[in-house]
Symmetry: C2
DNA sequence: ATGAAAGCGCTAACAG
DNA sequence: CTGTTAGCGCTTTCAT
């Protein structure tokens, strides 16, 4: 342990004045000692630092922020840290933010019944900006933040200061093209969600399929590997001819692989499978997953760059330059 | 967009005084309006709120924190968000912290060359406490934080306010017992790290093996699935008799499964494999991974409960009651 | 229902 | 090299 003896009650925090008094100097001298500023004798500096340590003094971040105009802190709102896609994204955001000396306050609204708006409400008093997967509530989130910029991901129509969306039509063309190329004649798409409403990805896939004259079977499952596996097993039992499958994301695709295996189908021979995301998980499953891959580091970097532009005034809030669109690459592995 | 018209420069933030002036009231009235406090006429409240929105006013968290004595904010220091174990842990910490109205500042020190100490240094000015996987630097981290408590995970000898460690001997007994029970005669353990030094887990496994009279082959690999796969493939080519394998964590175990498959070994028939962690990934790989499972929600809850006790003074910093030990369960799936 | 005064803990700008 | 003064933006008394 440090000098704080065990059992110390949650004693009132020491302030700079306590240290100054203990050292018999002014508080300015304490400031100089603590922040390694010039204009102080080395002996004084050390004595003050020592005293500060003994008193367990640490400067109030509020007082400091108030007077110095804080380092920026960004809120990161994530639906579900349990889907490996999101930590991968979070990781790159944290890295980029750290490089800039920002700090990131994380909120995961996946558990319990809380929504992205709850997350933003919790974050709002703590941060200068928000980056997040907010779904269609992003407009309300921006309203909550006022002038502070929100960068929303994957909500193409979002009314926020900045947005990053994905070119799912391009992705769909890549996937469907591949499936056609390997000779699939009966293609299905597994979307996320439990009702019949298509997600943004879903409608892009459906649109491209129509364009290509593909008769697409669409099915739905909750956004988990297990639900995906069950949905696929069910489909296979009713629709034996299916020989090509595109899945909403890699996590669900991993579940689909399981479901297919349990139904006695071999991938890719009986049925080719293409996921979406490009997370490392895809290389760990068997067979390894062919997938529409996003460069997660690029997504994180883009989000942070965009936010920086918004914060500095280089980009106007809500302007077209602040609406970016990223593309997937098709990574061929074993499943298709 | 909100009322802030596009293209607004990073104008100086509006303060409560600006709003008060615009509304022709005093700043207390603005405070009352913004915080839904009583003692203000409804009409006034609405007018002030409207003006505040128009001006893009949001209260300074520093001024507020200074005067109110902040909500607590905890730093979460994580080695690598890319290993699914850590986000799973982070997720439960975030959930528990959110329940208490705390907010969590995340730092991932996995990328670049930064260390856990760098992370703590970045976090230190921002937080009231730290929870994290800090390795053996935890003592220095506690020194950096002074009186503010550090809860370190997986550093049994750590000199911190609180600690949570794991009973690896118990885990090792479970795993080696299982391998013996399924008839393994040549057991290996794959540890994390590139030199010959054993990790805490490694020495527990070695100790129990000795206790049980097992001649254990120990190998090392960097903490990634790929490195683990290569190490195992290499071992198998030199040591064909190996028929049982315990692995440092599930991610590496997943890689080991790959390595074994590529070497033409069938799991579990040719070689049984047991991982450690119990993350969902284990159910997605083929064959599904038998593993020493930690209840991650419990770990997160325990860490946050412990921190709460430390913060409130219910537990003395560094006392034995603040050193907790958790146990793994053996979850039998397909790989052993 | 509203306003005035005081002060949270710190650092920047000047003194000395 | 050290101390004094002022003020960051807000909420808490306490008046009115």
């Amino acid at each position: 342990m440090t000098s704080s003896s065990p059992g110390n009650p949650p004693a009132k925090r020491a302030t700079i004045l306590d240290v100054a008094a203990a050292a018999g100097v002014s508080r300015q001298t304490v400031t100089r000692a603590m922040n390694d500023m010039p204009g102080i004798r080395q002996a004084t500096r050390e004595r003050v630092q020592e005293l500060a340590r003994e008193l367990g003094y640490s400067p109030s971040r509020f007082a400091k922020g108030l007077v110095q105009g804080a380092r920026t802190s960004v809120g990161l709102a994530i639906p579900d840290l349990t889907n490996p896609y999101f930590p991968a994204f979070a990781s790159s955001v944290v890295e980029m933010a750290t490089q800039r000396g920002w700090n990131v306050v994380m909120d995961d609204f996946g558990h319990g019944t809380s929504s992205s708006l709850d997350a933003v409400a919790r974050l709002s008093p703590q941060v200068d900006a928000v980056i997040g997967y907010l779904g269609s509530d992003s407009g309300k989130a921006q309203a909550m933040l006022g002038r502070r910029p929100v960068v929303v991901l994957d909500d193409p129509a979002g009314q926020t200061a900045g947005g990053i969306s994905f070119d799912y039509s391009h992705a769909a063309r890549l996937a469907l093209g591949r499936l056609l190329a390997v000779g699939c004649g009966h293609i299905a798409y597994l979307d996320s969600g439990t009702d019949d409403a298509l997600t943004v990805r879903g409608s892009a896939v459906a649109g491209v399929a129509a364009e290509l004259g593909i008769e697409l079977t669409v099915l739905h499952a909750a956004e988990s590997a297990q639900a995906a596996g069950e949905a696929v097993a069910d489909l296979v039992s009713r629709h034996a001819a299916m020989d090509g499958l595109v899945v909403f994301n890699d996590l669900m695709a991993a579940g689909a692989l399981k479901g297919l295996a349990k139904s006695g189908r071999t991938v890719p021979d009986d049925c080719a499978v293409i996921g979406m995301d490009g997370i490392p998980l895809g290389e760990l499953v068997t067979p390894e997953l062919t997938t529409l891959s996003l460069n997660l580091r690029e997504v994180g970097r883009t989000a942070v760059d965009l936010l920086e532009g918004l914060l500095s005034g280089a980009f106007a809030h809500g302007s077209p330059e602040a609406q970016l669109k990223l593309r997937h690459d098709l990574i061929l592995r074993e499943s298709a």
